[in-house]
């Protein structure tokens, strides 16, 4: 028995190496895209920024091999310029054909992907793990982000920030969109 075992060890080792060689080209990757304040536009009732992941080197490295998106989160620095707490929601769309001029049109034409965020009257920082707990309609969000991966569509999608009540008195100083993907050859 020992002789048979000894003969099998190199074979078994080869199997192990083969499987784990595959690991080197497949796995889970975390991709972050910084949005600074120069990329954030302000309207009277909302702010918005366009996310074009195709500008991102890490996304480009994996985009053709993405099997699925694990999750999507944010890191945010936001000022609440009002005197009281403000509830904030994020909406997403990749439809650039609709003119959106006010908060109601955002709600009518985009999908809410983050809610339950309350900003105190001051500077606010929302970290990545916290944002993951606030994301909703994750399947729709994943679908829109993956559509970004389709070469036949326009690059980019729009994220709108609204407050649950008017007036709109918040300022997004910067944001990072963080996408975790599983990709393989």
């Amino acid at each position: 028995m020992k002789k048979v075992s000894a003969k099998l060890i190199p074979f078994f080792g080869l199997v192990v190496v083969t499987i784990f060689a595959g690991c080197l080209v497949s796995g889970t990757f975390v991709i972050d895209l910084d949005i600074d304040n120069t990329d954030i536009s302000t309207e009277s009732e909302f702010q918005y920024f366009i996310v074009d992941l195709t500008d991102n080197e890490d996304w480009e490295d994996h985009r053709d091999k993405i099997e699925f998106i694990d999750n999507i989160g944010f890191q945010l620095w936001v000022e609440n310029n009002g005197a009281s707490n403000a509830g904030v929601e994020f909406y997403i769309t990749r439809d650039f054909s609709v003119d959106i001029d006010n908060a109601q049109e955002v709600r009518d034409n985009a999908i809410r992907v983050l809610s339950g965020l309350t900003l105190v009257s001051d500077d606010n920082y929302i970290d990545w793990p916290t944002s993951l707990g606030l994301v909703e309609n994750l399947d729709s969000l994943k679908s829109i982000v993956l559509t970004e991966n389709d070469e036949d569509t326009d690059d980019g999608f729009v994220i709108y920030a609204l407050t649950t009540t008017l007036p709109f008195e918040i300022t997004i100083d910067s944001a990072t969109v963080i996408v975790t993907v599983t990709a393989s050859e």
């Binding site: 060890i9 499987i19 784990f20 796995g27 975390v30 699925f68 793990p129 599983t182």
Partner: protein, 162 residues
């Protein structure tokens, strides 16, 4: 002595050691602990049902830290060349399969089939007790892709009736 060792048909074991994610950016190195029964089926082969509790470490990035997942997996391994209480060191191969349940705050819980393979060494140290050291590669099949990790564990096996 040899007769007694051959009669050692059932063993119990406990073990622990590091767990290392393979190309999983969102997991840090962690620890795994487990327990198993060892049933010696026929000479040279053993069957090992086992239960394992793995906690990945945190994954740290410039933009934040993500808590690692917890994975509980039930499985059964076949050991080739590792049956019975060894007298001195004995190298064995193993392979098996199991159900891997993964959870983490803000991730959907998942239970998926997976398989593993590895190499180990068991060293009899007397009184029905053996030191057991092994390395295993794990592949969890997940939505058409896979999640992989390696465990390196050390522990003790106690053979009943020895």
């Amino acid at each position: 002595m040899i007769s007694s060792a051959s009669a050692a048909g059932i063993g119990l074991g406990a073990y622990g050691g590091p767990a290392i994610p393979i190309v999983q950016d969102d997991q840090g190195n962690g620890l795994v602990f487990g327990a198993k029964a060892k049933l010696n089926l026929i000479p040279g082969f053993a069957f090992e049902p086992n239960i394992n509790f793995l906690s990945y470490g945190d994954a740290e990035f410039d933009f934040g830290t993500r808590e690692g997942s917890k994975v509980t997996y039930f499985g059964a391994d076949i050991l080739f060349g590792g049956a019975g209480l060894p007298i001195g060191p004995k190298v064995y191969l193993l392979g098996g399969a199991g159900l891997y349940s993964t959870s983490r705050d803000n991730d959907e819980d998942a239970s998926d089939f997976g398989f593993n393979f590895g190499l180990g060494m068991e060293i009899g140290i007397g009184s029905g007790i053996a030191l057991d050291i092994r390395g295993k590669g794990h592949v969890i099949m997940f939505e058409g892709a896979s999640k992989k990790f390696v465990t390196v564990t050390g522990g003790l096996n106690y053979y009943l009736g020895y």
